[in-house]
């Protein structure tokens, strides 16, 4: 387990701004929330309440003044205005679209405008042009963990596929172009792979079962819709490793939509993008009430947004989907209990 002090954390995310210590609890009346999600168990270790923000899936292009630049700028500005100020920001992958270093650099420049530190993981759009080389050069390790106010945070790269390009003699650009297509039927399922599973085992080995855990991956840790890689093939192994904990919160990008599931001790929430929304795939949602409205294609900001997650002392969590347009049905306007 990588112990991270606040000072180190600030250094790692290359941010100079000091984050505010949050003592308040972001918690609208729980009775008004939809009635499911993680119920805090008495045995879960008490934490110091705080909130953090989440952004994902900007899909920036190397085109000047592209509309997605402005939307990410707006998202950063929105997060900077959240009160109480989030202690930090998590970014769940796909800052770029075609893997070009220029896209990743542009994304970093915008994210560096956050007034709080941030941690980031790669998505497939960041990765398959140079197999993550530029991304690592800019953002560091593809997996990491840190502790904050009693919560153990984990980030992992969940978009690793088996080599489909060598035998077909694809160029790096062709490989990237294949991966860019959501319904790529020749690319295969992705996951975190055995090395990261070994790392995860070691990372959580000495943590007590009552430790609150938040894990972030690009893709969901359950089989949602494998055709669009709305899955992580070794998610069952991840869930097994994390099964010793009383409660785990999983947050993920990639789906560009409001989404919830709960498997065993893990509650899982999908995130809004800052690029475009995706329709729900043709399956029955495990929690059909957690569903955003249909987005208007004439409104470029509809279907997009940011997120604020507030954690109470008993690790009861509330995800606030901060949609840029009128996207949320009434039951989600005041948050999703996670």
């Amino acid at each position: 387990m990588e112990k991270v002090s606040r000072r180190q954390f600030l250094g790692m995310s290359t941010k100079a701004g000091a984050a505010t210590i949050v003592t308040g609890i972001f918690a609208p009346s729980l009775n008004s929330m939809i009635g499911f999600g993680g119920v805090a168990q008495a045995a879960t270790k008490k934490i110091k309440p705080f909130n953090f923000a989440v952004l994902t899936d900007a899909h920036l292009y190397d085109i000047n003044d592209h509309k997605f630049d402005g939307i990410l700028e707006k998202a950063v500005s929105d997060v900077n205005k959240i009160s109480p100020r989030p202690d930090f920001v998590l970014y769940a992958g796909d800052i770029g679209q075609t893997g070009l270093e220029a896209e990743l650099v542009k994304g970093k420049k915008i994210l560096d405008k956050l007034k709080m530190p941030y941690r980031i993981i790669p998505g497939e759009h960041d990765y398959y042009l140079d197999m993550g080389k530029a991304w690592r050069g800019l953002y560091g390790n593809e997996h990491w963990s840190f502790d904050h106010n009693g919560v153990h945070f984990i980030g992992m790269n969940s978009i690793l596929v088996k080599d489909f390009w060598t035998a077909k003699k694809l160029t790096p650009h062709e490989r990237m172009a294949w991966m860019e297509e959501l319904e790529c039927h020749k690319c295969g399922a992705w996951g975190v792979g055995s090395e990261q599973l070994d790392w995860l085992k070691k990372d959580v080995k000495n943590l007590a079962p009552n430790t609150p855990v938040v894990i972030m991956t690009h893709s969901p840790l359950w089989d949602y819709y494998p055709r669009w890689n709305f899955q992580t093939y070794d998610a069952p192994d991840i869930r097994k490793i994390l099964s010793k904990f009383e409660r785990v919160v999983s947050i993920h990008g990639h789906v560009h939509q409001v989404l919830y599931n709960k498997i065993g001790n893990i509650s899982s929430a999908g995130l809004l993008s800052t690029s475009w929304p995706w329709p729900y795939p043709p399956i029955k949602l495990p929690y059909p009430d957690v569903k955003m409205n249909r987005a208007d294609p004439g409104d470029f900001e509809d279907g997009l947004g940011t997120h604020n997650v507030a954690l109470k002392s008993d690790f009861a969590g509330m995800m606030d989907y901060r949609a840029f347009s009128d996207l949320l049905p009434a039951n989600l306007k005041r948050g999703l209990k996670i």
Binding site: I63, E181, E183, H185, P279
Partner: protein, 160 residues
């Protein structure tokens, strides 16, 4: 008398010619034979070539100018609802066709030049979207209207 003979012959010839014309050109009873399996296969292959072309166009950024492709927002042709057109569409502000909506997407979100409504490219894109939605029921305002169609494997159509 000679004249009469000729007149009878001419009348007979006219009736015979009319009958022959009717049998050959106007026979209402005789239908074309059913399309053979070989012919069906040939026609389907021609259609699938257009579907493949439409799939390629659906997933290229070349139709726009800002990097976006139709497939960015509409994987597997989802949320295009090709089986429901023509219908009133709020962005078009009128009863429009799928082709007009495709052009709206190219012009507005993708910032590209509109395609010829009757051109091969537009027909191919319509063929791709429509093929992947074969058998889908029209159910206005239901989830299926903005969801995707199930695709078990491959591109969603037989690929040679």
């Amino acid at each position: 008398m000679k004249y009469k003979k000729h007149s009878k012959f001419a009348l007979f010839a006219l009736i015979a010619a009319s009958l022959a014309f009717a049998i050959v050109f106007l026979n209402p009873v005789q239908a074309k034979p059913p399309v053979s399996k070989a012919e069906m296969k040939k026609q389907m292959n021609i259609l699938l070539k257009a579907v493949k072309k439409g799939d390629d166009l659906w997933h290229t950024a070349k139709l726009g100018t800002n990097g976006l492709a139709c497939g960015n927002c509409h994987p597997d042709g989802s949320a295009s609802n090709p089986h429901t057109w023509p219908k009133y569409q709020t962005n078009l502000g009128k009863v429009g066709t799928l082709r007009e909506m495709i052009n709206w997407c190219i012009l507005v979100p993708m910032q590209g030049p509109m395609l010829d409504l009757g051109g091969d490219d537009m027909i191919a894109m319509e063929a791709y979207a429509t093929y992947t939605h074969r058998g889908v029921k029209i159910a206005p305002a239901k989830d299926e209207q903005h969801g995707a169609v199930p695709v078990k494997s491959g591109p969603g159509y037989p690929l040679k």
